[in-house]
Protein backbone atom coordinates (compact mmCIF):
# COMPACT_ATOMS: atom_id res chain seq x y z
CA UNK A 1 0.00 0.00 0.00
CA UNK A 2 2.61 2.49 1.14
CA UNK A 3 4.93 1.36 -1.56
CA UNK A 4 2.32 1.79 -4.23
CA UNK A 5 1.50 5.27 -3.01
CA UNK A 6 5.16 6.19 -3.08
CA UNK A 7 5.46 4.91 -6.61
CA UNK A 8 2.43 6.93 -7.66
CA UNK A 9 3.86 10.03 -6.05
CA UNK A 10 7.20 9.54 -7.76
CA UNK A 11 5.38 9.17 -11.05
CA UNK A 12 3.42 12.39 -10.49
CA UNK A 13 6.53 14.35 -9.58
CA UNK A 14 8.38 13.00 -12.61
CA UNK A 15 5.45 14.11 -14.75
CA UNK A 16 5.60 17.58 -13.24
CA UNK A 17 9.35 17.69 -13.79
CA UNK A 18 8.98 16.74 -17.43
CA UNK A 19 6.31 19.40 -17.88
CA UNK A 20 8.61 22.09 -16.51
CA UNK A 21 11.48 20.75 -18.59
CA UNK A 22 9.35 21.03 -21.72
CA UNK A 23 8.14 24.50 -20.76
CA UNK A 24 11.64 25.85 -20.36
CA UNK A 25 13.35 24.02 -23.19
CA UNK A 26 10.92 24.01 -26.12
CA UNK A 27 11.80 27.50 -27.43
CA UNK A 28 15.49 26.73 -27.00
CA UNK A 29 15.21 23.46 -28.90
CA UNK A 30 13.08 25.24 -31.48
CA UNK A 31 15.70 27.88 -32.36
CA UNK A 32 18.37 25.20 -32.24
CA UNK A 33 16.35 23.21 -34.74
CA UNK A 34 15.79 26.27 -36.97
CA UNK A 35 19.49 27.07 -36.91
CA UNK A 36 20.37 23.55 -38.10
CA UNK A 37 17.82 23.34 -40.90
CA UNK A 38 18.77 23.51 -44.54
CA UNK A 39 17.51 26.72 -46.17
CA UNK A 40 15.20 24.61 -48.32
CA UNK A 41 13.65 23.00 -45.23
CA UNK A 42 13.15 26.24 -43.34
CA UNK A 43 9.47 26.38 -44.14
CA UNK A 44 8.66 22.73 -43.48
CA UNK A 45 7.09 23.74 -40.14
CA UNK A 46 8.71 20.75 -38.43
CA UNK A 47 9.92 20.94 -34.86
CA UNK A 48 12.78 18.54 -35.58
CA UNK A 49 14.98 19.19 -38.62
CA UNK A 50 14.96 16.48 -41.28
CA UNK A 51 18.54 17.18 -42.38
CA UNK A 52 21.24 18.97 -40.46
CA UNK A 53 23.57 21.69 -41.72
CA UNK A 54 25.98 24.02 -39.93
CA UNK A 55 25.99 26.59 -42.72
CA UNK A 56 24.02 29.13 -40.69
CA UNK A 57 26.71 29.13 -37.99
CA UNK A 58 29.43 29.57 -40.57
CA UNK A 59 27.45 32.41 -42.11
CA UNK A 60 26.97 34.39 -38.90
CA UNK A 61 30.62 34.10 -37.95
CA UNK A 62 31.84 35.03 -41.43
CA UNK A 63 29.67 38.13 -41.41
CA UNK A 64 31.42 41.12 -39.83
CA UNK A 65 28.39 42.15 -37.83
CA UNK A 66 27.88 39.25 -35.43
CA UNK A 67 31.42 38.66 -34.13
CA UNK A 68 31.73 42.41 -33.51
CA UNK A 69 28.43 42.42 -31.62
CA UNK A 70 29.51 39.42 -29.57
CA UNK A 71 32.75 41.16 -28.62
CA UNK A 72 30.85 44.36 -27.74
CA UNK A 73 28.30 42.47 -25.68
CA UNK A 74 30.90 40.61 -23.63
CA UNK A 75 33.09 43.66 -23.12
CA UNK A 76 30.31 46.07 -22.27
CA UNK A 77 28.44 43.64 -19.99
CA UNK A 78 31.61 42.65 -18.11
CA UNK A 79 32.82 46.22 -17.61
CA UNK A 80 29.37 47.43 -16.55
CA UNK A 81 29.17 44.51 -14.10
CA UNK A 82 32.55 45.27 -12.60
CA UNK A 83 31.80 48.95 -12.11
CA UNK A 84 28.30 48.41 -10.81
CA UNK A 85 29.45 45.82 -8.27
CA UNK A 86 32.33 48.00 -7.10
CA UNK A 87 30.08 51.00 -6.42
CA UNK A 88 27.34 48.82 -4.95
CA UNK A 89 29.80 47.13 -2.56
CA UNK A 90 30.74 50.46 -1.03
CA UNK A 91 27.14 51.58 -0.73
CA UNK A 92 25.86 48.26 0.64
CA UNK A 93 28.63 48.21 3.25
CA UNK A 94 27.64 51.68 4.43
CA UNK A 95 23.95 50.77 4.49
CA UNK A 96 24.44 47.57 6.47
CA UNK A 97 27.31 48.49 8.81
CA UNK A 98 27.23 52.19 9.45
CA UNK A 99 24.78 54.51 11.09
CA UNK A 100 24.26 57.80 9.31
CA UNK A 101 21.59 60.37 8.69
CA UNK A 102 20.23 60.06 5.20
CA UNK A 103 20.38 56.29 4.99
CA UNK A 104 16.64 56.22 4.40
CA UNK A 105 17.10 58.76 1.64
CA UNK A 106 19.69 56.59 -0.08
CA UNK A 107 17.42 53.54 0.18
CA UNK A 108 14.42 55.45 -1.14
CA UNK A 109 16.57 56.64 -4.03
CA UNK A 110 17.68 53.10 -4.79
CA UNK A 111 14.08 51.94 -4.75
CA UNK A 112 13.03 54.78 -7.04
CA UNK A 113 15.75 53.98 -9.59
CA UNK A 114 14.68 50.34 -9.67
CA UNK A 115 11.26 51.46 -10.85
CA UNK A 116 12.53 54.11 -13.23
CA UNK A 117 11.41 53.64 -16.84
CA UNK A 118 14.50 53.56 -19.10
CA UNK A 119 12.48 54.77 -22.08
CA UNK A 120 12.02 58.10 -20.30
CA UNK A 121 15.67 58.98 -20.59
CA UNK A 122 16.73 57.58 -23.95
CA UNK A 123 15.91 60.91 -25.63
CA UNK A 124 17.99 63.07 -23.28
CA UNK A 125 20.81 60.51 -23.25
CA UNK A 126 20.76 60.32 -27.04
CA UNK A 127 21.09 64.10 -27.24
CA UNK A 128 23.70 64.34 -24.47
CA UNK A 129 25.80 61.44 -25.77
CA UNK A 130 25.91 62.96 -29.26
CA UNK A 131 27.00 66.25 -27.70
CA UNK A 132 29.88 64.81 -25.67
CA UNK A 133 30.93 62.09 -28.07
CA UNK A 134 29.62 59.08 -26.16
CA UNK A 135 27.08 58.10 -28.83
CA UNK A 136 27.91 54.71 -30.34
CA UNK A 137 30.72 53.99 -27.88
CA UNK A 138 31.19 51.33 -25.21
CA UNK A 139 31.13 53.95 -22.46
CA UNK A 140 27.81 55.24 -23.77
CA UNK A 141 26.22 51.89 -22.89
CA UNK A 142 28.32 51.01 -19.86
CA UNK A 143 27.18 54.14 -18.01
CA UNK A 144 23.42 53.48 -18.22
CA UNK A 145 23.87 49.72 -17.58
CA UNK A 146 25.95 50.43 -14.51
CA UNK A 147 23.36 52.85 -13.18
CA UNK A 148 20.30 50.74 -13.84
CA UNK A 149 21.86 47.68 -12.23
CA UNK A 150 22.98 49.53 -9.10
CA UNK A 151 19.67 49.01 -7.24
CA UNK A 152 19.73 45.26 -7.95
CA UNK A 153 23.37 45.06 -6.92
CA UNK A 154 22.95 47.16 -3.78
CA UNK A 155 19.92 45.15 -2.63
CA UNK A 156 21.47 41.78 -3.28
CA UNK A 157 24.73 42.77 -1.63
CA UNK A 158 22.98 44.33 1.39
CA UNK A 159 21.01 41.13 1.91
CA UNK A 160 24.20 39.07 1.82
CA UNK A 161 26.24 41.54 3.88
CA UNK A 162 23.62 41.40 6.61
CA UNK A 163 24.38 37.70 7.09
CA UNK A 164 28.05 38.29 7.79
CA UNK A 165 28.90 38.08 11.53
CA UNK A 166 29.28 41.58 12.99
CA UNK A 167 31.84 40.53 15.58
CA UNK A 168 34.57 39.80 13.10
CA UNK A 169 34.36 43.34 11.83
CA UNK A 170 34.42 44.68 15.40
CA UNK A 171 37.26 42.39 16.37
CA UNK A 172 39.32 43.67 13.49
CA UNK A 173 38.59 47.26 14.52
CA UNK A 174 39.55 46.49 18.14
CA UNK A 175 42.79 44.95 16.90
CA UNK A 176 43.61 48.32 15.41
CA UNK A 177 42.37 47.95 11.86
CA UNK A 178 40.91 51.06 10.27
CA UNK A 179 37.37 50.82 8.87
CA UNK A 180 38.91 50.54 5.40
CA UNK A 181 41.16 47.68 6.48
CA UNK A 182 38.27 45.98 8.20
CA UNK A 183 36.39 46.20 4.91
CA UNK A 184 39.11 44.86 2.64
CA UNK A 185 40.66 42.18 4.85
CA UNK A 186 37.76 40.88 6.89
CA UNK A 187 34.49 41.61 5.16
CA UNK A 188 35.51 41.31 1.52
CA UNK A 189 36.53 37.63 1.67
CA UNK A 190 33.39 36.74 3.61
CA UNK A 191 31.28 38.72 1.17
CA UNK A 192 32.77 37.12 -1.93
CA UNK A 193 29.90 34.66 -2.54
CA UNK A 194 27.34 37.47 -2.34
CA UNK A 195 29.43 39.66 -4.60
CA UNK A 196 29.66 36.87 -7.12
CA UNK A 197 25.91 36.30 -7.03
CA UNK A 198 25.17 39.99 -7.54
CA UNK A 199 27.65 40.03 -10.41
CA UNK A 200 25.84 37.21 -12.20
CA UNK A 201 22.50 39.01 -11.95
CA UNK A 202 23.97 42.29 -13.15
CA UNK A 203 25.70 40.56 -16.04
CA UNK A 204 22.44 38.92 -17.14
CA UNK A 205 20.74 42.33 -17.09
CA UNK A 206 23.42 44.04 -19.16
CA UNK A 207 23.66 41.10 -21.56
CA UNK A 208 19.89 41.27 -22.09
CA UNK A 209 19.32 44.99 -22.70
CA UNK A 210 17.87 46.03 -26.04
CA UNK A 211 16.39 49.50 -25.57
CA UNK A 212 19.62 51.38 -24.78
CA UNK A 213 21.52 49.25 -27.27
CA UNK A 214 19.26 50.24 -30.17
CA UNK A 215 18.92 53.86 -29.14
CA UNK A 216 22.49 54.73 -28.31
CA UNK A 217 24.47 52.80 -30.94
CA UNK A 218 24.46 52.76 -34.71
CA UNK A 219 27.43 50.73 -35.94
CA UNK A 220 29.56 47.69 -35.18
CA UNK A 221 31.63 49.89 -32.86
CA UNK A 222 29.30 49.41 -29.94
CA UNK A 223 26.19 47.58 -31.15
CA UNK A 224 25.54 44.64 -28.84
CA UNK A 225 24.06 41.25 -29.68
CA UNK A 226 20.35 41.90 -28.95
CA UNK A 227 20.37 44.96 -31.22
CA UNK A 228 22.43 43.22 -33.90
CA UNK A 229 20.10 40.21 -34.00
CA UNK A 230 17.01 42.39 -34.21
CA UNK A 231 18.47 44.21 -37.22
CA UNK A 232 19.90 41.18 -38.97
CA UNK A 233 19.49 41.15 -42.72
CA UNK A 234 20.27 38.22 -45.00
CA UNK A 235 23.51 38.15 -46.95
CA UNK A 236 21.43 39.01 -49.99
CA UNK A 237 18.15 40.84 -49.95
CA UNK A 238 16.37 37.80 -51.36
CA UNK A 239 17.49 35.53 -48.60
CA UNK A 240 15.43 35.13 -45.45
CA UNK A 241 17.74 35.72 -42.48
CA UNK A 242 15.74 33.36 -40.26
CA UNK A 243 18.47 30.70 -40.26
CA UNK A 244 21.21 33.19 -39.40
CA UNK A 245 19.08 34.80 -36.70
CA UNK A 246 18.43 31.38 -35.19
CA UNK A 247 22.12 30.47 -35.27
CA UNK A 248 23.09 33.77 -33.65
CA UNK A 249 20.38 33.26 -31.04
CA UNK A 250 21.70 29.85 -30.14
CA UNK A 251 25.23 31.20 -29.80
CA UNK A 252 24.15 33.89 -27.33
CA UNK A 253 21.89 31.57 -25.38
CA UNK A 254 24.66 29.05 -24.71
CA UNK A 255 26.54 31.28 -22.21
CA UNK A 256 23.30 31.87 -20.30
CA UNK A 257 22.57 28.15 -20.12
CA UNK A 258 26.11 27.49 -18.90
CA UNK A 259 25.81 30.21 -16.24
CA UNK A 260 22.44 28.84 -15.13
CA UNK A 261 23.71 25.26 -14.93
CA UNK A 262 26.81 26.23 -12.97
CA UNK A 263 25.34 28.79 -10.61
CA UNK A 264 21.69 27.81 -10.21
CA UNK A 265 21.79 27.99 -6.43
CA UNK A 266 23.42 31.41 -6.35
CA UNK A 267 21.06 32.93 -8.90
CA UNK A 268 18.00 31.75 -7.00
CA UNK A 269 19.43 33.00 -3.72
CA UNK A 270 20.31 36.35 -5.26
CA UNK A 271 16.99 36.87 -7.02
CA UNK A 272 15.03 36.25 -3.88
CA UNK A 273 17.38 37.82 -1.33
CA UNK A 274 16.73 41.38 -2.40
CA UNK A 275 12.99 41.16 -2.75
CA UNK A 276 11.82 38.93 0.05
CA UNK A 277 14.29 38.64 2.88
CA UNK A 278 15.59 42.21 2.64
Amino acid sequence: MDNRQNRLEALLWSGFGLLVLGYALIPVLWILSLSLKWPADLNDRRLIPARISFDNYRAVFEDAQFPAALWNSFGIALLATGLSILLAMFAAYAIVRLRFAGKKLVLAGVLAISMFPPVSIIGPLFNLWRGIGLYDTWAGLIIPYMTFTLPLAIWTLSAFFREIPWDLDKAARVDGATPFQAFFHVIAPLAAPGVFTAAILVFIFAWNDFLFATSLTSTNDARTVPAAIAFFTGSSQFEQPTGSIAAASVVVTVPIIVIVLLFQRRIVAGLTAGAVKG
Binding site: S14, G17, V20, Y23, L25, P27, W30, I31, L42, R45, L87, F90, A94, F100, L107, A108, G109, V110, L111, I113, S114, F116, P117, P118, V119, S120, G123, P124, L125, F126, N127, I143, P144, M146, T147, F148, L150, W155, I204, W207, F210, L211, T214, P226, A227, A230, T242, A246, S249, T253, I256, I259, Q264, I267, V268, T272, A275, V276, K277, G278
Partner: protein, 291 residues
Protein backbone atom coordinates in the same frame (compact mmCIF):
# COMPACT_ATOMS: atom_id res chain seq x y z
CA UNK B 1 32.07 59.25 20.94
CA UNK B 2 30.79 62.22 18.97
CA UNK B 3 33.95 62.21 16.89
CA UNK B 4 33.51 58.56 16.10
CA UNK B 5 29.91 59.19 15.05
CA UNK B 6 31.14 61.95 12.78
CA UNK B 7 33.83 59.76 11.28
CA UNK B 8 31.29 57.03 10.74
CA UNK B 9 28.92 59.43 9.01
CA UNK B 10 31.69 60.81 6.82
CA UNK B 11 32.79 57.31 5.83
CA UNK B 12 29.20 56.29 5.11
CA UNK B 13 28.67 59.21 2.78
CA UNK B 14 32.03 58.66 1.17
CA UNK B 15 31.06 55.05 0.44
CA UNK B 16 27.61 55.93 -0.83
CA UNK B 17 28.70 58.95 -2.86
CA UNK B 18 29.82 57.16 -6.05
CA UNK B 19 26.66 55.09 -6.38
CA UNK B 20 24.37 57.99 -5.49
CA UNK B 21 26.17 60.32 -7.90
CA UNK B 22 25.94 57.80 -10.73
CA UNK B 23 22.25 57.26 -10.13
CA UNK B 24 21.49 60.97 -9.96
CA UNK B 25 23.55 61.77 -13.05
CA UNK B 26 22.02 59.08 -15.23
CA UNK B 27 18.38 59.26 -14.09
CA UNK B 28 17.46 62.42 -12.18
CA UNK B 29 19.40 64.77 -14.43
CA UNK B 30 18.15 63.27 -17.74
CA UNK B 31 14.52 63.20 -16.56
CA UNK B 32 14.75 66.88 -15.63
CA UNK B 33 16.42 67.52 -18.96
CA UNK B 34 13.59 65.57 -20.65
CA UNK B 35 11.08 67.81 -18.91
CA UNK B 36 13.02 70.87 -20.11
CA UNK B 37 13.17 69.56 -23.69
CA UNK B 38 9.46 68.75 -23.61
CA UNK B 39 8.72 72.46 -23.32
CA UNK B 40 10.26 73.16 -26.72
CA UNK B 41 9.39 72.50 -30.29
CA UNK B 42 12.61 70.70 -31.06
CA UNK B 43 13.09 68.42 -34.02
CA UNK B 44 16.66 67.24 -34.58
CA UNK B 45 16.09 67.24 -38.31
CA UNK B 46 15.29 70.97 -38.12
CA UNK B 47 17.32 72.13 -35.12
CA UNK B 48 17.18 75.79 -36.19
CA UNK B 49 13.43 75.83 -35.58
CA UNK B 50 13.86 75.18 -31.87
CA UNK B 51 11.33 77.27 -30.01
CA UNK B 52 9.80 77.48 -26.53
CA UNK B 53 6.19 76.30 -26.72
CA UNK B 54 5.24 75.74 -23.08
CA UNK B 55 2.97 72.79 -22.58
CA UNK B 56 1.97 72.53 -26.24
CA UNK B 57 3.74 69.20 -26.68
CA UNK B 58 1.73 67.71 -23.84
CA UNK B 59 -1.45 68.99 -25.42
CA UNK B 60 -0.45 67.37 -28.72
CA UNK B 61 0.37 64.03 -27.09
CA UNK B 62 -2.65 63.93 -24.80
CA UNK B 63 -5.01 64.81 -27.62
CA UNK B 64 -3.56 62.28 -30.04
CA UNK B 65 -5.28 59.00 -30.68
CA UNK B 66 -1.97 57.17 -31.04
CA UNK B 67 -1.02 57.94 -27.44
CA UNK B 68 -4.29 56.79 -25.90
CA UNK B 69 -4.38 53.68 -28.05
CA UNK B 70 -0.89 52.83 -26.88
CA UNK B 71 -1.93 53.38 -23.26
CA UNK B 72 -4.82 50.97 -23.70
CA UNK B 73 -2.55 48.44 -25.45
CA UNK B 74 0.04 48.69 -22.69
CA UNK B 75 -2.61 48.16 -20.04
CA UNK B 76 -4.01 45.14 -21.90
CA UNK B 77 -0.57 43.54 -22.10
CA UNK B 78 0.26 44.43 -18.50
CA UNK B 79 -3.00 43.11 -17.04
CA UNK B 80 -3.03 40.01 -19.22
CA UNK B 81 0.52 38.95 -18.53
CA UNK B 82 0.74 39.85 -14.83
CA UNK B 83 -2.55 38.14 -13.92
CA UNK B 84 -1.61 34.86 -15.61
CA UNK B 85 1.94 35.05 -14.28
CA UNK B 86 0.68 35.40 -10.72
CA UNK B 87 -1.62 32.37 -10.92
CA UNK B 88 0.84 30.24 -12.89
CA UNK B 89 3.76 31.40 -10.74
CA UNK B 90 1.89 30.55 -7.55
CA UNK B 91 1.01 27.12 -8.88
CA UNK B 92 4.60 26.50 -9.90
CA UNK B 93 5.86 27.76 -6.54
CA UNK B 94 3.53 25.50 -4.59
CA UNK B 95 4.55 22.50 -6.67
CA UNK B 96 8.25 23.31 -6.37
CA UNK B 97 7.81 23.73 -2.61
CA UNK B 98 6.30 20.28 -2.32
CA UNK B 99 8.42 18.54 -4.92
CA UNK B 100 10.29 15.59 -3.51
CA UNK B 101 11.87 14.60 -6.78
CA UNK B 102 14.08 16.53 -9.17
CA UNK B 103 13.92 19.76 -7.18
CA UNK B 104 17.34 20.89 -8.34
CA UNK B 105 16.72 20.09 -11.98
CA UNK B 106 13.45 21.99 -11.97
CA UNK B 107 14.97 25.05 -10.33
CA UNK B 108 17.78 24.97 -12.84
CA UNK B 109 15.80 24.68 -16.06
CA UNK B 110 13.28 27.22 -14.87
CA UNK B 111 16.06 29.80 -14.91
CA UNK B 112 16.59 29.39 -18.64
CA UNK B 113 13.59 31.54 -19.64
CA UNK B 114 14.68 34.11 -17.06
CA UNK B 115 18.23 34.27 -18.38
CA UNK B 116 17.47 34.11 -22.09
CA UNK B 117 17.79 37.42 -23.92
CA UNK B 118 14.31 38.92 -24.32
CA UNK B 119 14.92 39.69 -27.99
CA UNK B 120 15.89 36.05 -28.58
CA UNK B 121 12.85 34.63 -26.81
CA UNK B 122 10.62 37.07 -28.70
CA UNK B 123 12.18 35.92 -31.99
CA UNK B 124 11.91 32.25 -31.08
CA UNK B 125 8.18 32.56 -30.40
CA UNK B 126 7.72 34.82 -33.41
CA UNK B 127 9.17 32.11 -35.64
CA UNK B 128 7.17 29.46 -33.82
CA UNK B 129 3.88 31.27 -34.52
CA UNK B 130 4.92 32.26 -38.04
CA UNK B 131 2.51 30.81 -40.62
CA UNK B 132 5.23 29.73 -43.07
CA UNK B 133 8.07 28.75 -40.71
CA UNK B 134 6.44 27.92 -37.43
CA UNK B 135 5.35 24.69 -35.85
CA UNK B 136 2.42 26.09 -33.87
CA UNK B 137 -0.03 26.17 -36.78
CA UNK B 138 1.06 22.70 -37.85
CA UNK B 139 0.64 21.44 -34.31
CA UNK B 140 -2.83 22.94 -33.83
CA UNK B 141 -3.87 22.29 -37.41
CA UNK B 142 -4.57 25.99 -37.94
CA UNK B 143 -3.79 28.52 -40.63
CA UNK B 144 -3.52 31.69 -38.55
CA UNK B 145 -1.34 34.68 -39.36
CA UNK B 146 -0.97 35.27 -35.63
CA UNK B 147 1.02 38.48 -35.61
CA UNK B 148 -0.94 40.40 -38.22
CA UNK B 149 -4.20 40.57 -36.33
CA UNK B 150 -4.55 42.64 -33.21
CA UNK B 151 -5.91 40.18 -30.69
CA UNK B 152 -3.94 37.18 -31.84
CA UNK B 153 -0.84 39.39 -31.85
CA UNK B 154 -1.61 40.37 -28.26
CA UNK B 155 -1.98 36.70 -27.49
CA UNK B 156 1.51 35.94 -28.85
CA UNK B 157 3.07 38.95 -27.09
CA UNK B 158 1.45 38.13 -23.76
CA UNK B 159 2.27 34.45 -24.18
CA UNK B 160 5.94 35.31 -24.76
CA UNK B 161 6.00 37.61 -21.74
CA UNK B 162 4.39 34.96 -19.55
CA UNK B 163 6.83 32.32 -20.72
CA UNK B 164 9.79 34.57 -20.01
CA UNK B 165 8.84 35.97 -16.60
CA UNK B 166 6.72 33.36 -14.81
CA UNK B 167 9.86 31.62 -13.50
CA UNK B 168 10.97 34.84 -11.82
CA UNK B 169 7.53 35.21 -10.24
CA UNK B 170 7.56 31.57 -9.13
CA UNK B 171 10.98 31.87 -7.51
CA UNK B 172 9.98 35.00 -5.60
CA UNK B 173 6.79 33.34 -4.39
CA UNK B 174 8.69 30.16 -3.51
CA UNK B 175 11.01 32.21 -1.33
CA UNK B 176 7.95 33.68 0.38
CA UNK B 177 6.50 30.21 0.91
CA UNK B 178 9.63 28.96 2.66
CA UNK B 179 9.35 31.83 5.15
CA UNK B 180 5.94 30.67 6.40
CA UNK B 181 6.29 28.88 9.77
CA UNK B 182 5.47 25.20 9.31
CA UNK B 183 3.64 25.04 12.66
CA UNK B 184 0.92 27.35 11.42
CA UNK B 185 0.13 25.11 8.48
CA UNK B 186 0.13 21.94 10.54
CA UNK B 187 -1.95 23.62 13.27
CA UNK B 188 -4.55 24.48 10.64
CA UNK B 189 -4.44 20.90 9.43
CA UNK B 190 -5.01 19.59 12.95
CA UNK B 191 -7.99 21.93 13.21
CA UNK B 192 -9.43 20.17 10.20
CA UNK B 193 -8.83 22.79 7.51
CA UNK B 194 -8.79 21.42 3.98
CA UNK B 195 -5.85 22.04 1.65
CA UNK B 196 -7.74 24.84 -0.08
CA UNK B 197 -8.76 26.43 3.25
CA UNK B 198 -5.18 26.24 4.47
CA UNK B 199 -4.03 27.96 1.31
CA UNK B 200 -6.63 30.75 1.40
CA UNK B 201 -6.67 31.43 5.15
CA UNK B 202 -3.09 30.74 6.20
CA UNK B 203 -0.71 30.75 3.27
CA UNK B 204 -2.12 33.65 1.25
CA UNK B 205 -2.40 36.22 4.07
CA UNK B 206 1.11 35.42 5.26
CA UNK B 207 2.43 35.77 1.74
CA UNK B 208 0.79 39.11 1.07
CA UNK B 209 4.01 41.15 1.35
CA UNK B 210 5.85 38.83 -1.04
CA UNK B 211 2.98 38.82 -3.48
CA UNK B 212 2.79 42.61 -3.41
CA UNK B 213 6.51 43.01 -4.07
CA UNK B 214 6.39 40.50 -6.91
CA UNK B 215 3.30 42.14 -8.39
CA UNK B 216 4.74 45.63 -8.15
CA UNK B 217 7.94 44.74 -9.95
CA UNK B 218 6.25 42.64 -12.60
CA UNK B 219 3.59 45.31 -13.23
CA UNK B 220 6.19 48.02 -13.67
CA UNK B 221 8.23 45.75 -15.92
CA UNK B 222 5.23 44.87 -18.04
CA UNK B 223 4.18 48.52 -18.28
CA UNK B 224 7.61 49.36 -19.71
CA UNK B 225 7.43 46.52 -22.25
CA UNK B 226 9.47 47.26 -25.35
CA UNK B 227 11.67 44.41 -26.60
CA UNK B 228 9.01 41.78 -27.25
CA UNK B 229 6.60 44.12 -29.02
CA UNK B 230 9.37 45.73 -31.06
CA UNK B 231 10.64 42.37 -32.28
CA UNK B 232 7.29 40.70 -32.87
CA UNK B 233 5.11 43.40 -34.44
CA UNK B 234 6.94 46.75 -34.26
CA UNK B 235 3.58 48.08 -33.14
CA UNK B 236 1.82 47.10 -36.36
CA UNK B 237 -1.87 46.26 -36.28
CA UNK B 238 -2.54 48.56 -33.32
CA UNK B 239 -0.27 46.78 -30.85
CA UNK B 240 1.97 49.77 -30.13
CA UNK B 241 2.83 50.29 -26.45
CA UNK B 242 3.80 53.54 -24.72
CA UNK B 243 7.49 52.66 -24.73
CA UNK B 244 7.30 51.98 -28.46
CA UNK B 245 5.64 55.35 -29.07
CA UNK B 246 8.36 57.05 -27.03
CA UNK B 247 11.09 55.24 -28.94
CA UNK B 248 9.56 55.96 -32.34
CA UNK B 249 9.07 59.67 -31.74
CA UNK B 250 12.50 60.10 -30.14
CA UNK B 251 14.86 57.81 -31.99
CA UNK B 252 13.13 57.06 -35.29
CA UNK B 253 11.60 60.49 -35.93
CA UNK B 254 14.17 62.44 -33.90
CA UNK B 255 11.48 64.72 -32.52
CA UNK B 256 13.07 65.49 -29.16
CA UNK B 257 10.44 67.93 -27.94
CA UNK B 258 7.39 65.78 -28.57
CA UNK B 259 9.26 62.59 -27.61
CA UNK B 260 10.36 64.09 -24.32
CA UNK B 261 6.76 64.91 -23.51
CA UNK B 262 5.95 61.22 -24.11
CA UNK B 263 8.91 60.26 -21.88
CA UNK B 264 7.70 62.46 -19.05
CA UNK B 265 4.18 61.08 -19.35
CA UNK B 266 5.49 57.49 -19.17
CA UNK B 267 7.50 58.48 -16.12
CA UNK B 268 4.35 59.87 -14.51
CA UNK B 269 2.49 56.66 -15.39
CA UNK B 270 5.14 54.58 -13.63
CA UNK B 271 4.99 56.94 -10.67
CA UNK B 272 1.22 56.50 -10.40
CA UNK B 273 1.48 52.69 -10.52
CA UNK B 274 4.24 52.71 -7.90
CA UNK B 275 2.29 55.01 -5.58
CA UNK B 276 -0.86 52.91 -5.89
CA UNK B 277 1.12 49.81 -4.94
CA UNK B 278 2.99 51.50 -2.12
CA UNK B 279 -0.36 52.56 -0.68
CA UNK B 280 -1.36 48.91 -0.83
CA UNK B 281 1.61 47.83 1.29
CA UNK B 282 1.02 47.63 5.01
CA UNK B 283 4.43 49.06 5.87
CA UNK B 284 6.52 51.39 3.75
CA UNK B 285 8.66 49.40 1.37
CA UNK B 286 11.76 51.39 2.19
CA UNK B 287 11.65 50.25 5.77
CA UNK B 288 11.20 46.64 4.72
CA UNK B 289 14.16 46.89 2.43
CA UNK B 290 16.33 48.85 4.83
CA UNK B 291 16.18 47.10 8.14
Amino acid sequence: MKARGNAERRLAWLLCAPAVTAMLLVTAYPILYAFWLSLFRYDLRFPQHRQFVGLDNYVSVLSSEIWWKSVVNTLIITAGSVAVELVLGMLLALLMFRATLGRRTIRTVILIPYGMITVVSALAWKFAFDPTTGFVNALLNLDNAWLTERWSAFFVIIFTEIWKTTPFMALLLLAGLTLIPRDLISAARVDGASAWQRFVHVTLPLMKPTIMVALLFRTLDAFRIFDTVYVQTRGAGNTETVSLVGYNVLIARLNLGLGSAVSVLIFIGVLIIALLFLKGFGTPLTRQQGE
